[in-house]
């Protein structure tokens, strides 16, 4: 082999070895959400669409969730690296031996609330629930929250009517159920809008106003991920929370809605805008609260509620699984 050929060969080898390096710059991450794409996951969508993940060196595949597509299962099966799960899912999984950690709390206020018509007496105290027909999703966390509220107020179940509900609002629209569980920033907006078109006003009943702080969606990862790749966890979380901060900034509203629209085709622009407004108040209720802050007391209360409701058999000491707050 002459000198010229040797140089060419070396150059070729250099090019071949450099190509994967350039390509491998983005670390592939799977991120499983709790529910379908809609405005309530605006920050997750915007972290990707706004290039925050890319900037941090990640190629993130943000996937929709559903009751069947559970982030905790996906983490254990190594199909996802990060996920979103509600506090009851996390605590239940810990009770059954799952090795997961909570790294950020997305919702500072639980969006699970109840809607009722304003022509009905306002719910000022828990005693005002008496005599009403209240919807709950049997098996869902709203049932647990309602049971806790009733126990707190000393209301017996025979003092009101608990009715099982699902996604169809018809029983509420037909006034067969007075107080209907909704996610305040998604279904709540849609129902409010629907009723306002019929010239009916609505109120929302928020359990947090009555001292029941049941934590909602949080970002989770596996113990092994945290142990083996703490840098990735930190960088992913920074990028994600940056995406959320930017998405919740009213100045970016137009860009955020445009990004959400690509995924959420079920709602119109007006609804999406209202949903984004509602989401802001739940994710960042005050300028002083940093997005992602873990409310340890609320988590402890959630665990205690679930213990009281016999949804878990033993304490899981949830505070030992909340990582982000401690490190910061």
């Amino acid at each position: 082999m002459n000198k010229k050929n040797l140089m060419l060969l070396l150059l070729l080898l250099l090019l071949i070895s450099a190509a994967p390096l350039a390509y491998a710059k983005d670390i592939k991450i799977n991120y499983r959400l709790k529910w379908l794409f809609n405005t309530s996951v605006a920050g997750d969508i915007y972290a990707e669409a706004g290039g925050f993940f890319k900037e941090a060196g990640f190629a993130v595949h943000v996937k929709e969730g559903s009751p069947e597509k559970n982030a905790i299962n996906e983490l254990e099966l190594k199909r996802a690296d990060f996920g979103v799960a509600s506090a009851d899912q996390v605590i239940r999984a810990l009770d059954r031996g799952a090795k997961i950690l909570v790294i950020a709390q997305l919702f500072q206020v639980n969006p699970m609330q109840w809607i009722y018509r304003a022509d009905q007496p306002e719910i000022k105290t828990l005693q005002d629930l008496k005599g009403r027909r209240i919807g709950v999703t049997f098996g869902g966390n709203d049932e647990t929250i309602m049971n806790t509220l009733l126990a707190k107020a000393g209301i017996r179940k025979k003092d009101l009517t608990l009715t099982g509900v699902r996604f169809d609002f018809t029983p509420f629209l037909r006034r067969k159920v007075d107080v209907w569980p909704v996610y305040r920033n998604s279904q709540g907006v849609i129902l409010k809008d629907k009723l306002e078109r019929e010239r009916e006003r609505v109120n929302f009943f928020n359990p947090a106003d009555f001292g029941v702080n049941f934590v909602a969606n949080s970002v989770i990862t596996s113990e092994s991920m945290m142990k083996n790749n703490p840098d990735i966890v930190e960088e992913f979380l920074n990028a994600l929370l940056k995406g959320w901060e930017e998405a919740m900034d009213p100045g970016n509203e137009e860009k955020v809605l445009k990004a959400v629209k690509k995924f959420d085709r079920g709602n119109n622009n007006d609804i999406r805008k209202k949903q984004l407004d509602a989401t802001r108040t739940l994710i960042k209720p005050s300028v002083h609260i940093k997005i992602g802050t873990i409310d340890i007391n609320a988590w402890k209360q959630t665990e205690s509620i679930m213990l009281g409701e016999k949804q878990i058999k033993k304490p899981v000491y949830i505070e030992t699984r909340l990582i982000w707050k401690k490190e910061k």
Binding site: L77, F138, G164, D168
Partner: protein, 255 residues
């Protein structure tokens, strides 16, 4: 027949559970993702009674739904057996209705009928009825030329006689299809309960799914399997009895 059915189901169920447990062990999964045997047994102890009544509730709808679907399938099948315009219209209408997925129709059914007993029955019948209809149409639209020719030639053929001849000559097929449709009726009822009901084992599975409680779901599947095996075994035994009686009466007529 009955015990064979149950035994066969137990084999399938145990193989399924063993497969899940192998995955659990191989991937070191927690009880949250795949429950271990002690947890399944413990859960069974907790929910057995409730789930038994749930399955029986589902079963009652299944049996009724299957009866309705048999009547519907025979009515439409007999009416649509002719190659006339009306026969063809009935067939096309029946096919078109079935083309809509039940999950899409369920909200409409739910709005019209609420979430009680009737929607469960309706959805169970709709899911069960179409495969039955296809078989009934196939049987009723195919002439038994050797026998029918005699009655046509002698001018004694009536539609009732035509239906009887075709049913008699295809009795084995009909019994198999009817006993097989029990599974569909059960599946239809469970789907209905899952999406638009507040009772039955399908509803309990939905609640367990909300809690990501696979142990409860496995217990529910076990109970569904056992009960449907018993029901199918009974149907098959009944079918055998009917066949024996009919063949005896046929032999008597021949003698």
């Amino acid at each position: 027949m009955l015990f064979r059915r149950i035994f066969q189901f137990l084999i399938v169920y145990i193989i399924g559970i063993a497969f899940l447990l192998m995955i659990k062990m191989a991937l070191s999964l927690s009880n949250y993702v795949i429950p271990g045997v002690p947890l399944i047994v413990e859960t069974a102890g907790q929910v057995f009674k409730d789930y038994f009544f749930d399955v029986m509730s589902t079963m009652s709808v299944t049996v009724l739904g299957q009866c309705i679907s048999i009547v519907m399938a025979f009515t439409v099948g007999i009416a649509g057996r002719k190659s006339s315009w009306m026969g063809s219209f009935i067939k096309v209408t029946a096919y078109n209705i079935q083309a809509y997925p039940i999950v899409a129709l369920a909200p409409i059914i739910f709005i019209l009928l609420g979430d009680g007993f009737i929607p469960r029955l309706l959805i169970a019948s709709m899911i069960c009825y179409f495969p039955l209809l296809l078989s009934v149409l196939g049987i009723m639209a195919t002439p038994v030329k050797d026998i029918e020719h005699f009655y046509i030639a002698t001018g004694r053929m009536r539609w009732q006689l035509e239906v009887k001849i075709r049913a008699f000559e295809n009795l084995n097929k009909l019994v198999t299809v009817i006993s097989g449709s029990a599974t569909l009726a059960m599946a239809g009822t469970i789907v209905a309960e899952f999406i638009a009901a507040n009772a039955g084992i399908g509803y309990s599975i939905r609640v367990a799914l909300y809690q990501s409680d696979l142990a409860k779901i496995l217990v529910a599947l076990f109970m569904i399997g056992i009960i449907i095996s018993i029901y199918q075994g009974i149907l098959e035994t009944m079918g055998e009895q009917i066949k024996i009686r009919w063949s005896v009466s046929k032999q008597g007529e021949a003698l």
